[in-house]
Symmetry: C2
Subunit: 326 residues, 2 copies
């Protein structure tokens, strides 16, 4: 099969043997795979990664010896696979995403979706409803990560929320979370992204403007979703969150974050790390809201044009770039 290999900051297309599913696993043909900021971080050396990345995937089962009834079904993949041991406190309590021996699709010890095929345990597959297109389903993974925030911070009509960052995740978060907390503002730094948010019916403004107003005693938010992807994001979030407020932190960066945390202590702010969510819930949300994902897409590119696709994905302010196997 054709694969993309991340190696020393470069992407190389290569031929690799088709993977063979073991017991309880299926062979999945990749239909579409999104490029996530984590992929770009992996490419530049985060986790000392080398290999096949890619984890935002929609595919179809083409082999599953124990379950021939699954053949041809479209699925997205829950990216965490725990050790499954009965004495693992995380696996035993249904939280494989925190199992210390977990494999993570395209990130840790599990060959990813920048490839024609991948292998996944059947238990990790979530079936895409018939009415839901690939271009929606391919958002299930980042959308799950966004919806997870609703389990970490109380979001409701009375909550004021700022989403800090107008990148792929920030834009998606603003759209999805505004369904829970209508008093939500996207704070961005790219004019065209702020305009895009406004065209989606979202309240949006330049983060610099909001920060300088907050510095003069202006508006502060109950909840700030930090999705800047920058080591400076936390300091900004601390500027605009109210005392006793919550910052949900999505940014993972290789760079150490240097921040005046006295402000966090004095204002008794809660800072909550936030990672993956429930893919089934994300598929349900996509189906129920009829969410049009096209505004969030930068480009859909054939797999063979991956070089152009990644060039586009690294541009500041880029939307979601999707590779497809036609």
């Amino acid at each position: 099969m054709r694969v993309l290999i991340f190696e020393e900051g470069k992407i190389r297309e290569a031929e690799a043997p088709d993977p063979v599913p073991g017991e309880g696993a299926a062979l999945v043909r990749v239909r579409m795979v999104g490029v996530c900021n984590t992929d770009l971080e992996l490419l530049s050396g985060y986790y000392g990664f080398s290999g096949i990345a890619g984890h935002e995937v929609v595919g179809e089962v083409i082999r599953c010896d124990a379950r021939p009834d699954l053949l041809g079904k479209r699925a997205v993949v829950a990216i965490n696979q725990g050790c499954g041991a009965g004495d693992c406190p995380f696996c035993a309590s249904g939280v494989p995403g925190h199992c210390p021996d977990r494999q993570v699709l395209g990130i840790v010890d599990w060959s990813g979706a920048f490839a024609e095929y991948l292998v996944a345990p059947v238990d990790n597959l979530h079936w895409v409803p018939d009415g839901l297109g690939d271009l929606a389903a391919v958002f299930a993974e980042p959308l799950a990560a966004v919806l997870h925030i609703t389990e970490q911070a109380p979001l409701g009509p009375g909550t004021s929320v700022a989403v800090l960052g107008d990148g792929k995740l920030g834009m998606l978060a603003a759209w999805a979370l505004s369904r829970f907390a209508p008093d939500l503002t996207l704070l961005g730094k790219h004019e065209e992204r702020i305009a895009l948010a406004a065209s989606l019916g979202l309240s949006a403004m330049a983060s610099s403007e909001c920060l300088s107003a907050a510095g003069r005693g202006g508006r502060k938010f109950d909840v700030v979703v930090e999705a800047t992807g920058s080591p400076l994001g936390l300091a900004q979030a601390l500027e605009i969150v109210r005392p006793l407020g919550i910052i949900v932190m999505k940014t993972t960066t290789r760079h150490p974050v240097s921040t005046d945390l006295a402000r966090l202590v004095v204002n008794e702010v809660r800072l909550v790390g936030s990672r993956c969510g429930d893919m089934g819930r994300a598929l349900g949300f996509l189906a129920e809201t009829g969410m049009d994902t096209r505004p969030f897409i930068e480009a859909v590119t054939p797999f063979s044009c991956h070089a152009a696709a990644f060039e586009r994905a690294v541009r500041p302010g880029a939307g979601k770039v999707i590779l497809e196997f036609p």
Copy 2:
């Protein structure tokens, strides 16, 4: 009255006019006042402070025109005084400690307790029960800050807790919180402080030992109370907290904290800033537990010997230094 003035990193004894209580306020004669790390930070320039610090105080009412019945009563002082305006969201909801226009005893716009007398609103006074000595009551403020942690993190028999830091606050936190969560370990760096903790019946060990074990896949804790007073404390807390665990952060330092926060995100750790607590609850705890505060005391020194007292208070690993007006 005699006062201590913090000015440009130095302490100067001076004569100042006796303060005059306004409406709703009492004149309190200071009996004892503890030296807190915040005082030492203020002395070295935190908040650009100059003036009369001191906020861990037990005193007695010597004047209160509207309430002569209070004369002679012993009290501790709740250190936050909000603006009290009906449209202040924090004052209106009973959280004056987060009022943006608050005064804080000995810290912000409210002359402190390193003085013969201070003025306090009667509403900020908590009466010391007859059976409770000054040497216990003078711990009410830091103890309230410690007990506040029980409102921020679920502490119970099933919770494993590490208190990181063997200073004044760390030792007090370990003792008090172990009443809620018996599976508690004090992690220190001073041999004599670790020995003191052990002599109080606490589990205690060198933090370096625990950190290196955690790095090798060893024990991690459900809740870590970060009370190191050091900008390095947060990174250490992130090493020893389990995924989905809670770090309660007490350290306020003038220095920016540089940390790899990807770990917080990936492990979905919650970091909670923690400041002041309920002084009435602290007095109740002291009375109910019959807590012997003597092991936590480094020295009780007459006010006139303040220079020696502060010299002792800044020593690494020092316990609580208390100034008294005999």
